[in-house]
């Protein structure tokens, strides 16, 4: 394996891991909240959270480029008031990947939280468990495999996030898309765009991506299956009111 391919893989890995680190707690919170809270305006907020799923990723990348760039309000605030130098790539890419991953994971986790008996937590509270303790000891263990499943799919998505990342990288390198340390999709694009068209590198990163995607999706499905069948007896009892 060529050093370029290895470096691209390492970069993608870092990007995906960092994205998961941010996106997982965020999507668990959002999904939990969306599954439990009931008020009239909720549907609008629901739609807003899911909006990035319907937007072309390049548009997200474009908005982030203008927002985080030299002239962008967000970029200026970060740089001048907080003293944080935020590069469009790779830091901005993590943000872009989060924006794309959170709605997807939220969408996956929401039915999971909705599926469980809604009286379990209240009953835990009557037994003396605080809100957080009840969540940690009941809601979390019950949904853990499903959370793992969402994380695996989120990892695959963040790994391959290209639309927004390309635009961000292009913005960083002032139009040439010549970012150093490219991620896997970026390396593929760079390889095809460069004069010699080094097909070998393209094939290499393509095969790599296929492997990562296959493992991630398989893991996601396995965990999801486990979540569905783990407490099957009780789950079936819950909606039919009796044991099989």
């Amino acid at each position: 394996m060529s050093p370029a391919a290895l470096s691209a893989m390492w970069m993608s890995l870092q990007l995906a891991a960092l994205t998961l680190l941010i996106a997982t707690p965020l999507s668990i919170t959002l999904a939990w909240w969306m599954a439990r809270v009931k008020w009239r305006g909720k549907v609008l907020l629901d739609a807003f959270i899911l909006l990035p799923l319907g937007l072309p990723p390049a548009v997200i990348g474009f908005w982030l480029t203008t927002g985080l760039g030299e002239q962008g309000a967000l970029g200026r605030w970060l740089r001048q008031d907080l003293g944080l130098a935020v590069a469009l790539y790779p830091t901005g890419a993590v943000l872009a990947a989060c924006i794309m991953t959170v709605p997807m994971m939220t969408r996956m986790l929401r039915p999971v939280f909705e599926a469980h008996d809604p009286m379990l937590l209240p009953v835990a509270r009557t037994l003396g468990a605080s809100d957080w303790h009840a969540w940690r000891t009941v809601a979390l263990p019950l949904t853990l495999p499903a959370i793992g499943s969402a994380m695996a799919l989120g990892f695959a998505a963040a790994w391959g996030e290209s639309g927004a990342v390309l635009v961000l990288a292009a913005g960083q390198a002032s139009g040439t898309a010549g970012a150093e340390d490219p991620t896997v999709p970026l390396a593929l694009w760079q390889a095809l765009a460069s004069p010699g068209r080094p097909q070998a590198l393209a094939w290499e990163v393509a095969a790599l991506s296929l492997g990562v995607a296959a493992i991630a999706i398989l893991l996601s499905e396995l965990l999801r299956w486990q979540w569905q069948h783990r407490w099957q007896g009780s789950a079936r009892m819950d909606w039919r009111g009796e044991r099989p």
């Binding site: 009286m119 509270r125 009557t126 037994l127 003396g128 783990r230 009796e242």
Partner: protein, 395 residues
């Protein structure tokens, strides 16, 4: 297990709540002394569950007060609203809601773990004997989905009691249990309040559970209290029985078993000093029991009938004559039973019995309040249930 825990003072649970549920505003006041059961009855979905959830702190409440003894758990006037985990009121309903990812043993230990060092375990609370009493020993390693409905209710009851609650809230706890398993579980539930010195509030649509378990009854109708008071008084009030589905208007009489007649296979019960014959029961002499007599099984006479199949003849005085039904087609006659002096020459507690008769009978016999009369009913029409806090060990 002995529920006697001298270090912990049992406190009564008093409730006065105004709760809103979709399409219904519910208001109720009720109170349960330690060791006693107050039942919320009424047609299905008249707000019984909403009140219990409000008491537990699981549902927003519009106004009111919930208190254990003198300590308020919720008081809208003072803005006091303790979260459910600080109220320490156990919850039991038909679905049991056992934690599916935990074994029964860990389910039972949940309260102690959640409360950690905050939990001051009462000396009387002894989990192994609780497990034995609930007959859960064989299933401690199993998970909830491996248990049947009756076992799940027992496990959920054990989990609630092992968390050392200060009171217990039960919403139709036998709702999912199959009929053949119900009587045994009902006996167990009937002992809980007394055994653990807990105030218990319950809601159930089945009147036999109310008659077996409750001391006080609150009838909810359209979210309002249609009647409240001691069970013998409330359920003997014919005017209130219209609010109860599947409950035949009748009377609840309380008394004690005095004699068993082996030759005729009947038992005798003392009601207000008068002797009532009932089908043979297995409750030993001296057991306090409740008799339920349907109002339509009761006949009214001026004199003691000499030729009648009514085995039971009780003397009393008419207190009320009410016409009921569409344009008064029939009437309910309330009779206060004559009380006799007991061995200490004190009047025994009174009791009221109701008879349903046609308007024709009322007018022809010219029944008037204040008149002495004789009520008769067949021994077979009396249903015998022990009082809630008496164990019904057959012997």
């Amino acid at each position: 297990m002995s529920g006697d825990s001298p270090s912990r003072l049992p406190r009564s649970l008093s409730v006065d709540l105004h709760v809103r549920q979709p399409g219904l505003e519910v208001q109720a006041q009720l109170r349960a002394l330690p060791g006693r059961v107050s039942a919320l009855v009424g047609r299905v979905e008249n707000g019984q569950r909403a009140i219990l959830e409000g008491v537990a702190g699981l549902r927003p409440v519009i106004a009111g007060r919930v208190a254990l003894g003198a300590d308020a758990l919720f008081e809208s006037r003072r803005g006091l609203n303790l979260p459910p985990h600080q109220r320490r009121l156990g919850w039991l309903d038909a679905e049991a809601h056992l934690f599916p990812h935990l074994t029964i043993e860990r389910n039972l230990a949940y309260g102690a773990r959640a409360q950690g060092p905050r939990m001051k375990v009462a000396p009387g609370l002894d989990v192994p004997s609780l497990v034995k009493w609930l007959d859960l020993s064989a299933m401690m390693d199993r998970r909830p989905h491996e248990l049947n409905a009756s076992q799940r209710v027992r496990a959920a009851l054990g989990r609630a009691l092992a968390a050392d609650p200060q009171g217990l809230l039960m919403d139709d706890p036998l709702g999912r249990v199959h009929d053949p398993e119900r009587p045994e579980l009902l006996e167990l539930l009937a002992q809980v309040a007394h055994r653990f010195h807990l105030p218990v509030l319950m809601a159930t649509p089945r009147m036999e559970e109310v008659v077996r378990m409750a001391d006080d009854v609150v009838i909810l109708h359209d979210g309002r209290m249609a009647g409240a008071g001691p069970i013998a008084q409330v359920l003997s009030d014919v005017s209130l029985s219209t609010f109860l589905e599947g409950f035949h208007a009748g009377s609840i009489l309380e008394g004690a078993v005095t004699r068993h007649d082996i030759e005729w296979v009947v038992s005798e019960v003392d009601i207000c000093g008068q002797c009532v014959t009932v089908p043979a029961t297995l409750h030993p002499v001296g057991t306090r029991v409740r008799l339920k007599v349907r109002a339509r099984d009761v006949s009214l006479h001026r004199e003691v009938p000499t030729d009648s199949s009514s085995t039971n003849v009780l003397r009393g005085r008419i207190t009320q004559v009410m016409l009921a039904g569409h344009s008064g087609t029939y009437g309910a006659v309330g009779v206060e039973l004559a009380r006799e002096l007991d061995e200490r020459l004190e009047l025994k507690a009174g009791a009221q019995i109701w008879g349903l008769v046609t308007r024709q009978a009322i007018e022809q016999m010219n029944w008037q309040p204040g008149e002495p009369c004789v009520v008769g009913f067949n021994a077979m029409s009396a249903q015998v249930t022990p009082l809630p806090w008496t164990s019904s060990k057959r012997g």
